[in-house]
């Protein structure tokens, strides 16, 4: 058990000798003993420290014990202080009564019996400790209740976020399902010879359906679980991403605000997936829209340019709203921090932004000036150039694939093409790798011969005729379990091409 809390016991007596003897009796209790030689000293101690038990000698010069007790009791802080009188004289019942009337809890005659004194004092120190503990438990309980309330609140909001996500995904999906037949019918109609008005109508309908199409794809982007999104091999091209995301991002800009967009040309792809990027900008624009609620001529701008600081793209979302106070600016990325009412805000939008940027190893900076507006600057690193086998020096590598099964063949060709190989079905001298199957030793020997032609030549063989053949440096064997979903990583491993599938989490 941890050491128990020590209580302060104050001894008040004008005779040092008596103080000493009281101290020695009470020391055994293990509490703090404080000594005062006069009423003044006692009051001083009482005001400075928390003292649950006071032992007072009744007979003292200047201010006697009764007077001191009366003074102590008048102070609200000492209403619960236990006062014990000690006296060799004044032992009449009247004296005792007077003492009790003044708030004493006990009256101990001299000569003192040490056990009795200790027992009496211990009752009050113990009471004090129990009361303190109760208070502590009470406080803790209160804190727990508050925490529980807060986590309920959080749960409610994350529930709502999840619901919104599901709703967005479902809506995007259903819209897409209906838009496909609409687009097909429009294509059919446009082949007919129509009057000028009908063609005009058709063009208008097509424009509307194109808009809905973009809205549907960005709705799905918005709903995708950005946390599990990978950026693929090549990152996201901002100029290509914007038209896809534009639909949903424009929907959150209210009528009293205008949105201007400028995306610099020739930016390298950034290392963030499309869904994450959409959610990032959506939330920043949403935040700007909220900030502009009271602004008549609201302006929001989105820009993408090369970051002056690093090999990154700088995305900036600015508004001309009221700006943020310094304290808000510092705290606005914290979870659940919001300056809006809860109906309007979950306090999670900017936190999500910070999370997405952090995952991409990017940075967020915020400039804000009261009365002028706020700019969020997000730097997202450019994606590393796609990995090739082996690091391409000149031209594409040539792969020859000879496999019997047409579907197997098609899958292998598809994977190799996605790894940037030029895929052929006939042998040529330019071939760098040969993907084949080895049903017997002679087929395997042919693969070995191929691989021996150049130091960079490799053969990838499905199936191993005998175990001892599996250890050829330039012939990579893959167990013949045909699962298209595994094929890409199998071939990547065999050719030692690093890829998303090869990196360890």
């Amino acid at each position: 058990m941890e050491s128990r809390e020590k209580a302060n016991i104050l001894l008040v007596d004008d005779q040092p000798g008596k103080l000493l003897s009281l101290e020695s009796i009470l020391q055994e209790l293990g509490d703090n003993i404080l000594k005062a030689g006069s009423a003044d000293e006692a009051l001083k101690e009482l005001l400075e420290k928390e003292i649950p038990v006071v032992l007072i000698d009744v007979c003292m010069p200047r201010m006697d014990g009764f007077e001191l007790a009366e003074l102590i009791r008048t102070h609200p802080r000492f209403q619960k202080t236990a006062i014990i009188f000690i006296s060799a004289v004044h032992l009449t019942d009247d004296d005792r009564l007077r003492g009790y009337r003044l708030g004493a809890v006990d009256y101990i005659p001299v000569p003192i019996i040490p056990e009795v004194l200790r027992a009496k004092v211990a009752v009050f120190t113990e009471l004090y400790r129990k009361t303190n503990e109760l208070e502590r438990v009470n406080k803790e309980l209160k804190q727990r209740v508050e925490e529980l309330d807060a986590s309920h609140e959080r749960l409610r909001f994350s529930d709502r976020m999840a619901t919104i996500g599901t709703l967005a995904a479902g809506l995007g999906h259903d819209m897409g399902n209906l838009l496909l037949p609409i687009r097909m019918r429009l294509d059919s109609l446009s082949e007919l010879s129509l009057s000028a008005t009908a063609r005009e109508d058709l063009a208008a309908i097509r424009k509307a359906s194109d808009y809905l199409q973009r809205l549907s794809s960005s709705l799905r982007l918005l709903a995708l679980d950005a946390q599990s999104e990978e950026n693929g091999d090549s990152g996201t091209d901002l100029a290509g991403w914007w038209p896809e995301a534009e639909g949903i991002i424009r929907t959150c800009v209210s009528r009293n605000a205008t949105l201007t967009v400028s995306i610099a040309e020739n930016l390298e792809p950034v290392s963030m997936g499309k869904a994450s990027l959409t959610q990032l900008i959506f939330n920043l624009v949403q935040n700007a829209v909220d900030a502009l609620r009271e602004t008549a001529d609201g302006r929001i701008s989105i820009s993408a340019e090369r970051s002056p600081a690093s090999a990154a793209a700088r995305l900036t979302v600015s508004d001309n709203g009221p700006g943020m106070a310094e304290a808000t600016r510092r705290r606005c990325l914290e979870p659940y921090f919001t300056t809006k009412t809860r109906e309007l805000s979950t306090g999670l939008g900017l936190t999500l932004v910070a999370g997405l940027v952090q995952r991409a190893n990017g940075t967020v900076s915020i400039q804000s000036e009261l009365g002028k507006g706020t700019s969020f600057c997000v730097d997202i690193p450019f994606a590393p150039p796609p990995k090739r086998f082996p690091p391409a020096t000149g031209g594409r590598r040539v792969a020859v694939v000879t496999l019997n099964d047409p579907r197997f063949l098609a899958h292998v060709r598809s994977v190799l093409a996605s790894l940037d190989f030029e895929v052929r079905s006939d042998h040529s001298d330019e071939a760098d790798i040969w993907v084949t199957e080895a049903r017997d030793e002679s087929m395997f020997k042919a693969a070995m011969d191929f691989a021996a032609r150049r130091p960079s030549s490799r053969a990838v063989v499905f199936g191993v005729p005998s175990p001892r053949m599996a250890f050829q440096a330039r012939v990579r064997c893959i167990t013949p379990e045909f699962r298209p979903s595994l094929l890409r990583s199998q071939i990547q491993n065999a050719l030692e091409i690093p890829g998303p599938g090869a990196s360890t989490p």
């Binding site: 687009r183 059919s188 082949e191 060709r413 996605s418």
Partner: protein, 160 residues
């Protein structure tokens, strides 16, 4: 493999009749393609596909009460010349993997452009695995995917 001059017979499995109707109109006016009918659901999907024996089947992923992957698996193992392509609004990694492992020749998105869709049907018939741009991106970006065991064991292709 299909003869060069014969039109591709394309079948559709989808519970959305609006889509089936529009697809029919599109295929009927597309040179080199022919509508081979549509199935809106039910447990006999694979049997009906095998009976009609089209060149290409466009198959929706979520048809109530039907495991379309199992149906695709039956079709591809009984009649490898029939090319099943998934056509779905959901472009999710585990769906793409399950589809391809079940013997599908591709995964197309309902958000693709119509000409691209038709081009993918042709390429699949010619022996290519086709993934819509969206599906290809999702597939490339994969780190790891939980793959459920298939209902049937695919035979070793080398011996097929």
């Amino acid at each position: 493999m299909t003869r060069v001059d014969a039109p591709l017979r394309v079948m559709c499995v989808d519970d959305n009749e609006l889509l089936a109707g529009a697809l029919r109109r599109t295929l009927e006016r597309e040179p080199g393609m022919r509508w081979a009918g549509f199935i809106s659901g039910g447990n006999l999907i694979s049997a009906r596909i095998l009976e009609a024996s089209p060149d290409v089947v466009l198959m929706d992923i979520d048809i109530p009460g039907v495991d379309v992957f199992e149906q695709a698996q039956i079709v591809s193992s009984c009649a490898p010349h029939i090319r099943v392509l998934m056509l779905s609004g959901h472009v999710l990694p585990h769906y793409i993997d399950r589809a391809l492992d079940s013997g599908a020749w591709g995964y197309l998105s309902k958000n693709d452009d119509v000409p691209q869709l038709l081009q993918h049907i042709r390429l699949a018939a010619q022996g290519q695995i086709v993934l819509s741009a969206e599906a290809a991106a999702v597939r490339r970006g994969l780190r790891s995917v939980e793959i459920k065991p298939l209902a049937r064991n695919p035979s070793h292709p080398g011996r097929a």
